[in-house]
């Protein structure tokens, strides 16, 4: 008997008992639905991370020199934490020494941030992430002004109390007003708004436009960091290779300034977009494990259900099996028939699950900030898993059917 013949028999059997077939594969269907939905969402987040988020948060070909990692995930041991706490801060003096060793085509800027209380005459006070930055920061971030202008070199040098604000900050503090030239009070110190930055969009529903930037020599600086300390020095090479060279010379300068012996590890951090991606990859692996483990439970339950239903089917069709054997079906014909039936059933369930999973992912993407990208491989894996589960679940019932004695089987009353 050919494979296609076996599939035809299976489809026929499924056709005449649609509802029962549906309940048989519901476990597999749900399992595959979850698998596809989770994989699609993780894949969507991943693409988003790589294409949008990392590019938005971390400028291209750039790294930041800082005391401890900004992105951290997973198990950071107490020993590591203690080591971080013992690290010296990054001082302006360090920054100047590093900058002196960088080639001319490498850009750099400092950045220090704190959430501070901000007031205006037109709205409720609010906490805003306030950063003080040095010249070059806007260039590295490739950030321009949507209204007004950016900070001038004189304002940097003089530490003039001016701010460039994000779009959300402008909307909140100056509703229906032009914010340019108006006053914002940060920790009660008056600042003049000189520009509104181009909209930066959002990440996972978190707006990237809730910020405020002032020159590093302005009075705000003493609120964001102790004197002469910076959170980070951002360095941007002209190319990826330029960035790597800059990282090496930065490392050399920093190690020399801190008198580190060759066997001692760095006591500072240089984070690139790769570090952020590492951080994301770790999250992704946790999500993928969860996204695979949960459906697996569904699939195991689904397999047990299919096995039981197939055992019932074999019992119900004992007479049919006897007749087929009497007419010349060999053991392997009967075995194949039930294996194919079980696998076909389960594959159909999985295919429905794939469709539902894609639907789910799109629905979640539409209703929440989570993005979704359907991974083509997951469709094949989903359908393949369906077939596999059906096969495995079918082995025992099918072999029971194959071993039936035709005489006894034909005697069974139906």
């Amino acid at each position: 008997m050919s494979f296609f013949q076996a599939i035809r028999i299976a489809l026929e059997t499924i056709r005449v008992q649609k509802l029962k077939s549906f309940f048989t594969v519901i476990g597999v269907m749900i399992g595959v639905t979850f698998l596809i939905a989770v994989v699609s969402i993780v894949a969507g987040m991943s693409r988003y991370m790589k294409d949008d988020l990392i590019g938005k948060i971390i400028a291209v070909n750039s790294f930041s020199l800082r005391r401890t990692p900004d992105f951290q995930v997973g198990d950071v041991t107490q020993a590591t934490r203690n080591e971080w706490r013992r690290r010296p801060r990054v001082y302006e003096a360090d920054v100047h020494a590093v900058a002196a060793a960088l080639p001319a085509d490498v850009l750099w800027a400092t950045e220090s941030s704190e959430n501070l209380n901000v007031e205006s005459a037109y709205a409720r006070p609010r906490s805003v992430q306030c950063s003080t930055v040095s010249p070059g920061w806007f260039d590295i971030k490739r950030m321009g002004a949507a209204q007004g202008r950016l900070i001038s070199i004189q304002e940097y040098q003089l530490g003039t109390p001016v701010v460039v604000i994000g779009k959300d900050v402008a909307d909140h503090f100056f509703p229906n007003l032009n914010p340019i030239g108006r006053e914002l009070r940060i920790q009660s110190i008056p600042y003049t708004v000189i520009g509104v930055a181009e909209a930066q969009g959002s990440v996972f529903g978190q707006s990237l436009d809730k910020f405020l930037v002032a020159p590093d020599k302005s009075p705000l600086n003493r609120w964001v960091n102790p004197h002469s300390v910076v959170d980070a020095m951002i360095v941007q090479g002209p190319t990826d290779a330029g960035m790597r060279d800059a990282m090496e010379s930065t490392r050399a300068v920093m190690r020399a300034r801190r008198h580190l012996h060759p066997e001692q590890p760095d006591n500072f951090e240089m984070e690139t977009s790769e570090s952020a991606l590492d951080f994301w990859n770790k999250i992704q692996s946790y999500l993928t494990i969860a996204g695979v483990a949960l459906p697996t439970v569904g699939l195991v339950v689904g397999a047990i259900v299919i096995m039981n239903i197939m055992l019932v089917a074999v019992a119900e069709r004992t007479r049919e099996i006897g007749i087929r054997k009497a007419l010349g079906a060999r053991r392997r014909d009967i075995l194949n028939q039930f294996l194919v039936e079980s696998a076909t059933l389960s594959t159909l369930g999985a295919a429905v699950g794939v469709a539902l999973g894609i639907g789910f992912a799109k629905l979640i993407a539409a209703l929440s900030p989570l993005p979704a990208a359907v991974a083509v491989w997951s469709i094949f894996v989903g359908v393949g898993i369906g077939a596999g589960v059906g096969m495995i679940a079918g082995i025992y019932p099918a072999s029971r059917a194959a071993l039936l004695d035709p005489i006894a089987a034909m005697r069974q009353e139906t």
Binding site: R319, L327, G328, I407, T414
Partner: protein, 269 residues
């Protein structure tokens, strides 16, 4: 009748052994069935039921034989062995020159598919399949392609005058029609013999006669037919009647001798 007909009652085992031949020897090619000392026992939890106690039987090509006997005499057991659904505990069974009594399950399945057409008392059609599909089944397991299968199944249904019932399911057919579908199914793969176990057991007497006419015409056209029945009325349609009693052959007659001996003819006259 032809030369393979049995002349007188072969009641003595010794006489029949002359016909069936010596153990191990391949029978002459005219014999479709040769059994030599076939025994079949069932172990019923300590108590052994001896269903067949040494059956020697030879049936030639083109014969139409009835196997008769009271209930429990071993007819179905013999039929199952002759039909390769079961194997004997002892003795030899040669089918068409092949020793089948020692074959594996799968080899027996092949022999059933190629050599034997079954007709059962309870029809044994697949309830969800159409008449045509039921008739196609043996060809499915013979590996015949679907269009050839379809054509041959149609031809077989035409032979039993059911060409206009091809798309009916068994529950849409009368008992006689179902049995004719079963006969078409039995014939579709050109078997060496048609093997029927109480083919009229579930039919009224008029329908039984109709089925007997089908058997008659098949026998006329040269089909070897072996039919198990406990009804002398039915048995007398065959051209040779073998009577089983307690797992042994008690008589083996031509139809005329059988009818004359048990006086059936007078009943019908």
């Amino acid at each position: 009748m032809n030369s393979t007909s049995v002349e007188a009652p072969l009641t003595e085992t010794a006489e029949r052994r002359v016909v069936t031949g010596t153990a191990g020897a391949t029978p002459e090619s005219k014999w479709v069935i040769v059994t030599r000392g076939i025994k079949r026992e069932y172990d019923m939890g300590g108590e052994v039921v001896r269903a067949l106690r040494g059956v020697d039987l030879a049936i030639a090509r083109n014969e139409y034989v009835a196997i008769m006997g009271p209930s429990g005499s071993g007819k179905s057991t013999l039929m199952n062995i002759v039909g390769c659904l079961d194997t004997p505990n002892a003795g030899e069974y040669w089918l068409n020159g092949q020793l089948v009594s020692t074959m594996s399950d799968d080899a027996l399945a092949r022999v059933r598919n190629k050599e034997i057409g079954f007709v059962f008392q309870t029809f044994n059609l697949l309830p969800r399949a159409t008449a045509l599909h039921n008739v196609e089944l043996p060809l499915v397991y013979a590996g015949v392609s679907s269009d050839v299968r379809r054509r041959r199944a149609k031809e077989a249904l035409e032979k039993v005058q059911l060409e206009n019932r091809m798309d009916h399911r068994p529950n849409e057919l009368s008992g006689g029609q179902r049995q004719r579908v079963a006969i078409a199914r039995a014939l579709v793969n050109d078997p060496s013999m048609l093997l029927a176990d109480e083919p009229t057991g579930n039919l009224d007497s008029q329908t039984s006669e109709e089925i007997m006419r089908v058997f008659e015409s098949l026998a006329d056209s040269g089909q070897t037919v072996v039919m198990v029945t406990h009804e002398p009325d039915i048995a007398q349609h065959a051209r040779r009647v073998v009577v089983l009693r307690d797992g042994l052959i008690s008589t083996d007659d031509t139809r005329d001798a059988f009818v004359a001996r048990i006086g059936l003819g007078t009943q019908h006259a």
